[in-house]
Amino acid sequence: MKRRIAHLDMDAFYASVELLRYPQLRGQPVVIGGRRLSRPDNNARAEDFARLRDYAGRGVVTTATYEARRFGIHSGMGIMKAAQLAPDAILLPADFDAYRHYSRLFKAAVARVAPLIEDRGIDEIYIDLSELPGDTEDIARDIKQSVREATGLSCSIGVSPNKLLSKICSELDKPDGLTILQAEDIQTRIWPLPANRINGIGPKAADKLAGLGIHSIAELAAADLGLLQAHFGGSYAAWLHAAAHGRDERPVVTSSEPKSVSRETTFERDLHPRLNRSELSRIFTDLCMRVADDLARKNVAGRTVGIKLRYEDFQTVTRDSTLPDPVIDGAQIRRAAGECLRRVPLDKRIRLLGVRIGSLCPRSEAVASTDAATQGELDFSE
């Protein structure tokens, strides 16, 4: 049977939720970001809101309204940098509780129309429409209408035979878009797009492709598989080739286990590994303890412990190691993460530190392996 897979992406989600609360800001450039801002009253006048020009700090833009995006502002940009582009844009602090609330509302609204949903985060989902009766466009319009009624928000939907193409399609007609693509439309509508529109071709792969003279998806589709294999390795090359031809057999996964848990923090000021050793050590231990709490809450243990470091020059490094047995407690995590830390250069100031636990398994598996606890350790210490 022919599959009909939809990708639904909420339009400028965080910013749109804020505009529900502050309708007086509609039509203005609004940026969400920063932590310590006070939140204006719901009926505050536009001139009472903080402006980007007033901001001093190290926060980054979480979302920007389409009006703000016109100035070149995008997610992940430093707020100070955004202020140079649009000093008069309005700045609001993020309110993740509100975003999660609206996230639940829109997903519930979609589920009433089409129940087979794969959760892809706070503001996007895949929906399998294959089994639903009726015309694809009608179903998609029903979903959009249902989301609008439940939340007052707009979304963009792409429908195609698979997830890969739908993800591309939902971007084509934003905001409030609806794009339906048949397999026979790939050459006319997908191939002219740049290769990095394919989810899975990141900046590095895109650069490498550009180096080979491959810019569009059409050029990627026409590329010699041997050439791709020589530059990207067998499996990624095969995937690139399949993706460019619009082939993707991944099912819509309606239930999912968490893959990893992580905690990270950006410091108030950059810290030096030697000079601020004790402060860093305290923060590091604290992150490990919070990750251990997260593991406990999700009732899982993990075998892979990793760290993430961002230096003052924004260079980011990660290191991880996989342990013989899953760990659950903060001290075990701290020890393993400490060993990871020994594998990164520590000669520059650090602005961000993170701890991540992967290869998760049920907590019972960790508790059952008690051998390590009773085996004595050789004491090499001085």
């Binding site: 190691s321 013989p324 060993e339 990871c340 009773t374 085996q375 004595g376 050789l378």
Partner: protein, 368 residues
Amino acid sequence: MHLLTTTRDAILAPLQSVAGIVEKRHTLPILSNVLIEKHGEQLTMLATDIEIQIRTTTAGDLGGSDASLTVGARKLQDILRALPDSAEVNLTLDDKRLTVKAGKSRFALQTLPAADYPRMNLPEGEGTRFQVTQKTFKRLLAQVSYAMAQQDIRYYLNGLLVIVDGGELRMVATDGHRLAYAAAPIEADLPRTEVILPRKTVMELARQLGDADDALEVVLAGNQSVFRFGPIELVSKLIDGKFPDYERVIPQNHPTTITFDRAPLLSALSRVAILTSDKFRGVRLVLEDGLLRIVSSNNEQEEAQEELEIDYHGDALDIGFNVTYLLDVLNNVSHEQIEWHLADGNSSALITVPGNAHFKYVVMPMRI
């Protein structure tokens, strides 16, 4: 272009000595390949995983033209192995394809250019050089390598410490629970040099070194080591890290020493080990007047017990150990007898060989 015609084994033997280090999965596709250089009557094969490189050069009556190429190591090895022992094999290279012909069999394989194959530079400078018999080096490896850690976060334990000092060669390995030490004299007078060989290098050397008195030449220089033996040259990176001070954990003055015949102790432990589980390998050693009882049980309430008569006349002692750590040492020393030095149930045990200061094994007990 005809490359060579020779017996199957003249190609397979050198291929097998280099192909063992080729990894199945790679980010760099060419690393699944082996580099083959045919020059006159010389055949050179080279493989690498970037950390280790093995090269072997053999000579024989090959015929054909000179060429260099790289081809999938595992595929070529599987093909040659599957051919009859007596097969005469013919290799030709045409338009980047290597054709292997033998009797009525014919295989056309893709090649990648030899110029693209990564090669490790040999270390510069003199470094520390010495010669030792393959037999001695292999024996020391066997006596300690089983104690290496595997995928430990303390990456420097996933390898084997090699020390040369004056006229002595020492090896140490530990996983933090037990430690093995072995030494042997060498004909040299060298400044003290310490390196950590990666686990994979250790395994490869243990596999390839012979049991005869043939020479092994070792060079330790910079962050690399080179091992030359027979037709083989193995270049390996070293683990950059500080190995723990092993001398600190070798106990000096344990009050009790018991001498065991190795074989009966090994047999008794092997039998008791049957009723331990994969998750819990603990066995209890209970020392009483003139008697050692070895006891194990599992969580299905099954129990095993062995008794050995021993020359022990002190207070009763009850110590738990991971049986694997005991079997490992008894399986890997070849002496008739071993000496077991003990203090109490919380202290490490030291296992040595009577009248021989060149072997030591330290193992921490388990709380059971």
